[in-house]
Symmetry: C2
Subunit: 321 residues, 2 copies
Amino acid sequence: MVKLSEGNGGKEMDSLISRFTKDFPRGNWLHYDNDAAILKTDIGFFGFTTDSFIVEPPFFPGGNIGDLAFCGTVNDLAVMGIKPSALSIALVIEEGFPDEKLEKISDSLAKHSKATGIPLVTGDTKVMQKGKLDNIIINTSAIGVTDKVLDTPPESGDLIILSGSLGDHAVAVLSKRFDFETSVTTDSKPLWEEMKSIKPLIKQAKDPTRGGLAATLNEIAIKNNLQVLIHESHIPVKQEVRSAINLLGIDMYSLACEGRIVCIASQEKADLVLEILRKFNPDASIIGEFTGQKIPEVVIQTAFGKRLLPKPSGNIVPRIC
Amino acid sequence: MVKLSEGNGGKEMDSLISRFTKDFPRGNWLHYDNDAAILKTDIGFFGFTTDSFIVEPPFFPGGNIGDLAFCGTVNDLAVMGIKPSALSIALVIEEGFPDEKLEKISDSLAKHSKATGIPLVTGDTKVMQKGKLDNIIINTSAIGVTDKVLDTPPESGDLIILSGSLGDHAVAVLSKRFDFETSVTTDSKPLWEEMKSIKPLIKQAKDPTRGGLAATLNEIAIKNNLQVLIHESHIPVKQEVRSAINLLGIDMYSLACEGRIVCIASQEKADLVLEILRKFNPDASIIGEFTGQKIPEVVIQTAFGKRLLPKPSGNIVPRIC
């Protein structure tokens, strides 16, 4: 039986995906990571990615499921260095879902589309009987082309930069779900402008969505077969986010962000990357480095010493995105 | 409030989609119809389409939701004359969904992928709490490129050909849902081989999925601003399908097929098209023609005379695909 933990962005999900896709032909497509597929073509590297959004509740401080559906998918291409060129939108709606809410979701999608110049070109609409679906699910898929995919292997001493504070999106959603007061709003936003500015300076990037920073850093460590060391004291977290997370008893490092970049740059270039990212968000910080040890693991330096930061497992917090 | 009828593939759905997408930028993309978007590029016409599948139950005679998720989406490109070149798959699964069923769905996707050579290149997996979703939803998106999109305007006297019998898929799903005996199995199948064979001979094609033949023919009539006349006696329907539909009291012309083509050919070429299609399915038939009248409507000739066949409205039968 499928478990809730198998949708968590962590170890259990990896296992379910491996089983589900074990017999799938992949053709000539390259797989730089799990989020987007890449095909080398005559006109460059073509990227293709998809994401379904099941956030509960669909409206939360600073945004709604429409913001996530736009940003989450285009960002999967953006962090690979690919400018998204078009988006599809497939709605599955529960019978009785309010028209006003649907209009607000449409407005959010249109707003991002206009601001980024990424058109919404094709779609699908389904309605399920009341009680057969909780509110609304949106799937978006995106495509884009680039001359160069970001995939330079990191080296010993390369630095890891986080583009803003952790946990904002998760706390915004949870504040609505559990009805507590907060001034924290979702961090959800399209990342292409930031990525375009830093692309020439960085080696790789990822966005720490489901599974959070812990999943993202472990994926980076495993992919490159290199040990990552991060410093807890360097990781930007808002005080209000920290309080909420302590109160809820959840792990900050496994919480999804929807508008943050984790990127890798050489020591020479890291300061310039940081300077650029801070123009977008003053909380951007260098949070760690590659130690040079060929061990695919993430170590975190805390006030109490070093410990492993494993890929998340278990139930984490469901339906954040 | 969103109504069940707004997901029916008919008039109410058109209205919801118009409202939802009214502010969406479309960029330079061409819209030949609602199912796929087309972009003219240096390497040809690029097609992009998406579909979510919510069929209930997810297993039915002759197939399962995996078959629909593969065929439904690649067929949207195929009927436009575009060979699908890759597919994405996004699963949203209810907690507790049986592993064996998930494996069978995976097997169906893999089987079609191997048979057609269309790779499954990227995906997403989400799990919702038990009771928050009825079983499983699958979204697939597909891309492809072609030198020539099928979009030649029809003329007076051109013929309309249907590639096989109507209603099989709907009756297969309903037999499982309402627990009646039938030997009818789903018509779901990938259509590219058929489309490739007839593409040089035809002007346009569509697949009569949601909203059935009635929706498809009305879309053709409206798009081309021409009256379509079809002959009820020429429309292939299996006896067992006819009995089931009469028993259930539902309208045959609004029922979704998942492996049928409706195409347009000149009188000179129609016989050859029919000959080719009959190699795939002996039930293929010429079912009607363009009368030459510039009225965007569909008229059906029955044993009792002529009547309008309007675009479906109302609840039709929910969750067939």
